[in-house]
């Protein structure tokens, strides 16, 4: 089925880029943006001027993404930068994350909303520790699609053998991860080989260019349309004459499909009812699915409020207070064993107690560390918590939306950890 793509029905791909210092990530992003005309003349003028002032040899495309004064001064990316571009086929959101070891937290943040990850490898250096770290984080955050770009092919004379060795080394490592779709592309971001168009320098490479790969990556089957989950965000009660008895449950469908007549169960109460209608501002819908924001009304008046969840009686989520998590620690203040934290999960807020720190993961070797259980900034660890109220959850691998939590410091209110329910 071919359908003409217009701006109205273009779809969206969110991807993250990870690479080490100097592997040409900024150049690659700069090229994607420039070739898709997402860089404007005044932006280019501005960075040309500042590159000149800084004494940079070439126009420093990194200045496009490094927007903060401190970043420009230090020549490093501190924070996740979001960039936008479109081709006639698709819209793209790039979460550009810095690759240094101390910025695991930024990589995790960028990866949390990504459908696809680009991992950059310098052809001269091959698979290094950082590459493994990036791939591990992508798989931990359940990014289903990896595109491994072997960059700087121009500096290894576009040799097939160099590419093949890297493919083999990466594949060996990746066999220990859970990623279903990995593609490898030999590129030169500087010269544009295989970035937008296929390069004639590497006739041995049979695959597609990077941009074509991004435009055609099929993400339609990644969303969970089976396990219906509707966390209630807000109860709409107009209290107007016209809508006197209206009581609508507003939220964004976390997974699955809801339609009028569906039997639903409200959690935690356990009461069941039927969906009267599923509506938006435009009116009632025949059905609604993830990730639509809708308002659901029910046939019966049952007590439901923010933090509750609608599901189907024959398919309910796990309900519990003792929860196993993989976490990435974000705070300079170490994780307190037996410490208490605020926790956010779907639209539910609770508190939790850290009952046990089971092990840490060495993100370079994937080995478990059980001898040292001190969880510091950027550490990945498996912990067990007990929450003050039951959560209605699925494993993160089954559903990103109902399987993810954040932990918040009770006093500073900083977000101190990202957690994935096991």
């Amino acid at each position: 089925m071919t359908k003409e793509v217009t701006y109205e029905n273009m779809d969206l791909l969110r991807f993250t880029t990870a690479g080490s210092v100097d592997d040409g990530k900024s150049t690659l992003i700069g090229r994607l943006l420039y070739d898709s005309k997402a860089i404007f003349e005044d932006q280019l003028d501005a960075i040309e001027k500042s590159s000149e002032m800084r004494g940079d040899e070439n126009v420093n495309l990194a200045l496009l993404t490094d927007g903060l004064k401190a970043e420009r001064e230090q020549g490093i990316t501190i924070d996740v930068a979001y960039r936008y571009f479109a081709t006639p086929r698709r819209k793209f959101i790039i979460a550009d994350t810095p690759g240094h070891i101390q910025y695991t937290r930024n990589m995790v943040t960028g990866a949390s909303t990504a459908d696809l990850a680009i991992i950059l490898i310098d052809a001269r250096k091959g698979v290094i520790e950082q590459t493994c770290r990036h791939a591990f984080i992508a798989s931990l955050l359940k990014i289903e699609h990896l595109v491994v770009c072997v960059n700087k092919m121009d500096l290894v004379d576009y040799k097939e053998s160099v590419f093949d060795e890297i493919v083999e080394a990466f594949s060996a490592f990746a066999s220990r991860l859970h990623v279903s779709d990995i593609k490898f592309i030999p590129i030169s971001a500087l010269h544009g080989d295989n970035v937008v168009d296929k390069s004639d320098k590497m006739p041995w490479y049979q695959g597609a260019s990077l941009l074509f790969t991004l435009e055609t990556a099929y993400i339609g089957s990644d969303a969970n349309h089976v396990d219906a989950r509707f966390p209630i965000q807000w109860v709409i009660r107009p209290q107007s004459k016209e809508h006197h008895d209206f009581r609508g449950f507003a939220g964004r469908i976390a997974a699955g499909v809801f339609k009028p007549g569906d039997e639903v169960i409200a959690l935690p109460s356990g009461f069941t009812s039927r969906v009267k209608d599923v509506r938006t501002f435009e009116g009632p819908l025949e059905e609604a699915f993830h990730p639509m924001s809708v308002t659901i009304t029910l046939e019966d008046e049952i007590d439901i409020s923010r933090g509750d969840m609608l599901a189907k009686p024959n398919n309910i989520p796990e309900i519990g207070q003792d929860i196993e998590l993989m976490i990435c620690w974000f705070s300079e203040k170490k994780l307190q064993p037996r410490g208490k934290y605020l926790i956010k999960h779907t639209s539910r807020d609770a508190k939790c107690l850290v009952k046990e720190i089971r092990y840490k993961v060495d993100i370079n070797t994937l080995h478990k560390i059980e001898s040292d259980l001190e969880v510091s900034l950027n550490d990945i660890a498996r912990i067990q918590i007990r929450t003050t109220q039951p959560l209605f959850y699925d494993s993160y691998n089954k559903n990103r939306n109902t399987g993810s939590v954040i932990l918040i410091d009770e006093f500073t209110h900083n977000t101190v950890a990202a957690g994935m329910i096991i």
Binding site: I236, F281, F330, N414
Partner: protein, 301 residues
């Protein structure tokens, strides 16, 4: 098998509605910062959608510099009446009269920076916990680093190096007394998305977005409207040109572009072909390389 698919605009809409509802649920007293510009018009439509069939459960707040285009104010009042929203207007002039801010001097004097004082005063007076704004990450390099939920300290300041990480769709709105949040539901929208949405929803926008004849002054490449707030310099001339505005700001610092675009579809074509960013016409951003970051740190929009 049915193919469950949302277009990118539908996804952006759903995301923004989700954010609006989080704001209503997580904060006792939110407000929507309304400027009469296209982004805040889209924001109002999204707020209507988020809470329909109920009314928007928070007021619109307009910080009026006194230098707004009259077309913008007319538009504002009509919109508020049409949708039955509550509007609160705070005047920069009052802030000046109270001696809490001093008018800039010189040729390029503008009340742009003064707005911050009025805005922070208003947020404090009305005890606003979350101010929804229409800023987008694609607009400007400092804004590219913004969070959806952007924390402000008790002085209303932004600390860009020390922001809370934002993961999945879990938004941390916890704060201390006296602190507040700026919330940006359109973070992931581009200028093109905004225009496409306005066209799709058939939203009214102020007339100055469309091509019209206007007396302008060419000041170092920026076409400023000839009004009582702009002093013509000896080397400058006033001429009538066919122009439109790509952003709606103060008459003192918002430049026009020469354009024949008289309909939404003309504008969309123009945006698609544009080689300058929309803020390329904003003199307030050109004051220094980090003008936006500096102002944002102080508490600007």
């Amino acid at each position: 098998m049915t193919y469950y698919h949302l277009s990118h605009l539908q996804q952006l809409e759903s995301e923004a509605i989700f954010i609006m509802r989080e704001v209503a649920a997580q904060f006792e007293r939110p407000a929507l910062l309304f400027s009469g510009g296209k982004d805040s018009i889209v924001l109002v439509r999204l707020a209507q959608k988020a809470f329909s069939p109920a009314r928007i459960p928070f007021p619109l707040l307009h910080i009026d510099t006194g230098h707004n285009f009259p077309e913008t104010l007319e538009f504002r009042d009509k919109l508020v009446e049409d949708i039955g929203a509550r509007l609160v207007v705070k005047l920069v002039q009052d802030t000046i009269d109270q001696g809490r801010a001093v008018e800039e001097k010189g040729v390029n004097a503008s009340r742009n920076a003064l707005q911050t004082v009025t805005l922070l005063d208003a947020l404090e007076e009305l005890q606003i916990e979350a101010a929804l704004g229409g800023a987008r990450r694609d607009e400007e390099k400092a804004r590219a680093k913004e969070r959806f939920f952007s924390h402000r300290d008790e002085f209303g300041q932004w600390d860009p190096k020390n922001q809370r990480p934002e993961l999945w769709n879990l938004f941390n709105g916890y704060k201390q007394m006296g602190e507040h949040f700026r919330v940006f539901p359109l973070s992931n929208w581009t200028e093109m998305d905004v225009w496409q949405y306005i066209a799709k929803e058939n939203l009214d926008i102020p007339s100055i977005y469309f091509s019209h004849d206007r007396e302008v002054i060419d000041r170092s490449g920026t076409l400023l409207a000839n009004t009582e707030y702009v002093t013509v310099q000896p080397n400058e001339t006033v001429e009538t040109r066919r122009v439109r505005f790509r952003t709606v700001g103060d008459m003192t610092c918002t430049g026009a572009v020469e354009s024949e675009a008289s309909s939404l579809s003309d504008i969309i074509q123009e945006v698609a072909a544009a080689r300058q960013t929309e803020r390329g016409t904003r003199a307030d951003d050109k004051r220094s390389e980090t003008a936006m970051e500096d102002r944002k740190k102080q508490g600007y929009f």
